[in-house]
């Protein structure tokens, strides 16, 4: 079974090497044939060089997290992956969590499985919890999707989801839009608890709650615009 682990990365030179090593180490010896794909979103540092153990796709233009994830999924589609895992390039996700999410997705036959950081909130700051809960509530109000963590970067996609899913957002709002598209396509959406690792580095790289305002604006606009499409 071919698995593609897509890691969108922007200026992650300090941790990207460890992220790739962790994934490779975790999947070694399992029944899965795993290819790690780092989508370097026009980083200005040595992200691409430090991720050389993985397949590196260099974006020519900075596209944002949504665009980078989309490129990774397209690569997986072209290379006929059976499942795709996406996880953040800042090292906040454990590869072992990715593996357990994959196994859960296979077990329950989910098309899109979200690794939820909010089922077990240990280590997460109150501000982050508030921001994520707020965005999850907005996602529910706008799109009617009831999940605990709509913004998690750790996601598992079945082959069906890889073929069907497309989103228009290029920024972080793609997380909610993707769920909406999945719901509209009648994909089976599920969640599985994960434990995010919050280091000083990942805290400094994560989105601020102020960015949530931009995300909300973009989602509301997207919802209105779709009425005219």
């Amino acid at each position: 079974m071919k698995i593609c682990v897509v890691v969108p990365a922007y200026n992650e030179e300090l941790v990207i090497g460890n992220v790739v090593d962790d994934i490779k180490e975790t999947f070694r010896g399992t029944k899965y044939f795993c290819e790690v794909v780092v989508v370097n979103d026009q980083s200005t540092d040595k992200t691409a060089e430090n991720a050389q153990k993985a397949t590196v796709i260099n974006h020519l233009i900075n596209q944002g997290a949504g665009g980078a994830t989309s490129t990774g999924l397209r690569y997986a589609e072209l290379h006929k992956a059976n499942w795709v895992i996406t996880l953040d390039g800042d090292g906040q996700h454990k590869a072992s969590d990715a593996l357990s999410c994959l196994e859960q997705a296979i077990r329950i036959d989910a098309d899109l499985l979200i690794g939820s950081r909010l089922i077990n909130k240990k280590g997460m700051s109150k501000v982050k919890i508030l921001g994520n809960r707020g965005l999850t509530l907005i996602t529910y109000l706008l799109f009617g999707i009831n999940v605990t963590d709509s913004q998690s970067g750790l996601r598992i996609f079945s082959q069906k989801a890889i073929d069907i899913l497309e989103w228009k957002s290029t920024g972080y709002d793609f997380c909610s839009e993707m769920l909406w598209r999945a719901k509209k396509a009648n994909l089976n959406i599920a969640e599985h608890p994960i434990q995010a690792i919050y280091t000083d580095y990942s805290k400094s790289k994560g989105q601020s709650n102020w960015n949530a305002v931009n995300i909300v604006k973009s989602l509301v606009r997207r919802r209105i615009v779709e009425m005219f499409e």
Binding site: T55, V56, I57, N58, H59, L60, I61, Q63, G67, S70, T71, R74, Y75, L78, K168, T170, V225, M227, F228, E229
Partner: protein, 120 residues
């Protein structure tokens, strides 16, 4: 007479919008639910325009919405609004299509370059 004029001025825009929706659906550019949603939206707009006389009388009873009869300026403004909604929507759709094309092109170039670099 004034309501008939409003209807005459806005009818071409509404008809164009409906024709666009039908064409897109027939050419399989939009799904059936999207077609129904769009169709209902423009039917709602045309119904409001067709029923502008009773609608006007109805809202005129409310103190906040009271005004004297429909002036020629009101007719022109309403026509302009309907026309602008149609134009803006068309432009937005074309911009989104172009954005999508550029994004897809960028994606394919990035992937193809990475494959070429990997082989060399």
């Amino acid at each position: 007479m004034r309501y008939a004029l409003l209807l005459l001025l806005t009818a071409p825009t509404v008809l164009m919008a409906l024709l666009n929706i039908f064409t897109q659906y027939k050419m399989k550019r939009i799904s059936k639910p999207r077609f129904v949603q769009q169709f209902m939206l423009w039917i709602l707009i045309s119904t409001l325009l067709l029923a502008s006389f009773p609608v006007y009388n109805l809202v005129n009873d409310k103190p906040l919405l009271y005004s004297k009869g429909l002036s020629l300026l009101d007719i022109l403004q309403t026509t302009a609004i309907v026309y602008l909604v149609y134009i803006i929507n068309n432009f937005r759709r074309k911009i989104e299509q172009n954005e999508r094309t550029i994004r897809d092109l960028h994606q394919e170039i990035s992937i193809s370059l990475s494959s070429r670099n990997g082989k060399s």
